[in-house]
């Protein structure tokens, strides 16, 4: 198995690269949004593939909550070598996944330093969650928030048509 730090370093470079080009084009919020979209899109495609690969040996998911539990246990375990710390739901299609020590934020520090920079480092992971859900047949909207590093929350809202 590959050392997890390889993915962390690659991810850091991805964010840095996108932001470096950003300042040339459009220094305002518009350019930043594009970069966030690109990161989210990358995470989405990776999530789609993982959503096919990871559940392979598992039995069929019976309901939505099973899929969310799979995200918290198996997806997080495969990508971040740990499980999500808590999963809450309002039973009406909104789920809040909490990680008290998110591996992609852990190296930045703990507390409030770098709080404004943190959201960039969550975009890929939001896409990852959305992509995996999409392969498993669930359309969703995933957003993330940080109150204090390295803890963060991912909010998954199921889109029912």
């Amino acid at each position: 198995m590959v050392d997890p730090v390889v993915f962390e370093l690659l991810h850091t470079e991805m964010v840095a690269e996108l932001w470096a080009h950003d300042s040339d084009l459009d220094p305002g919020p518009g350019g930043q949004k594009t970069s966030l979209l690109v990161l989210e899109g990358m995470g989405f495609r990776v999530g789609q593939a993982l959503g096919e690969r990871l559940p392979r040996e598992m039995l069929a998911f019976r309901e939505e909550l099973d899929v969310l539990k799979f995200l918290c246990k198996d997806l997080w375990g495969a990508v971040f070598q740990k499980q999500m710390d808590s999963l809450r739901t309002n039973h009406q299609g909104t789920y809040v996944l909490q990680d008290s020590s998110f591996p992609l934020l852990v190296r930045m520090g703990s507390g409030l330093q770098y709080l404004e920079e943190a959201p960039k480092f969550l975009a890929f992971t939001c896409g990852l969650l959305r992509g995996t859900l999409s392969t498993l047949g669930i359309k969703s909207l995933v957003t993330a928030s940080v109150a204090a590093l390295p803890a963060c929350k991912f909010q998954v809202v199921i889109q029912r048509s």
Partner: protein, 183 residues
């Protein structure tokens, strides 16, 4: 050749077509497909896409030998209903079984139809000649497992966009070797 086949499929099988309409549009497909190796029994392998029942469209279809194509395409389509029925039975916890392999969907006088559905709601349907009694359940299971593994590899291929028809040669050759083994 493959491009033409793509076009015909994309325009023909989307959505719930009535039986006669399906047969009519599929006529184009038959003329264009190249002949595969001939064997004593017939076998068709089909992987179908995900989505709500109105949107089941084929990601991949292959048959050996190639006469009577239409009949097999039609059988696969009707067996989709059985697959959907089994999936919804699983969901309602009426059946305790949560396996991916669906088993024999329904036997007709000449053919047996087997189904398999993945967690991502991709359905695999296999039609085998009834005279081919040498095929046992566990062999069918292992064939489906191979199909699932190959499909996963296709999904992980960066040049594949999820939802497109499968054009991977690796997938083709896996299916060919599997069908030759059986026929």
């Amino acid at each position: 050749m493959e491009g033409g086949l793509n076009q015909a499929w994309k325009s023909s099988v989307r959505g719930q077509a009535s039986a006669s309409a399906t047969v009519k549009r599929l006529q184009e497909v038959v003329c264009q497909e190249t002949a595969s190796s001939r064997g004593p029994g017939g076998e068709r392998v089909l992987a179908l896409g995900p989505g709500p029942p109105e949107e089941n469209y084929p990601l991949y279809i292959r048959s050996v030998p190639t006469e009577n194509e239409l009949k097999f395409h039609y059988m696969v389509h009707t067996s989709l209903d059985v697959v959907d029925e089994k999936i919804s039975a699983m969901g309602k916890a009426l059946v305790d079984q949560r396996e991916l392999y669906l088993g024999l969907l329904y036997p007709t006088e000449d053919y047996k139809v087997y189904g398999y559905v993945t967690n991502s709601k991709v359905k695999f349907v296999m039609v085998v000649d009834s005279s081919n009694t040498a095929l046992r359940d566990n062999e069918i299971r292992s064939m489906f497992r191979k199909l699932h593994n190959s499909y996963t590899d296709v999904m992980c291929n960066p040049f594949y966009n999820p939802g497109d028809r499968i054009q991977s040669r690796a997938f083709d050759s896996m299916v060919t070797s599997m069908m030759i083994q059986v026929c």
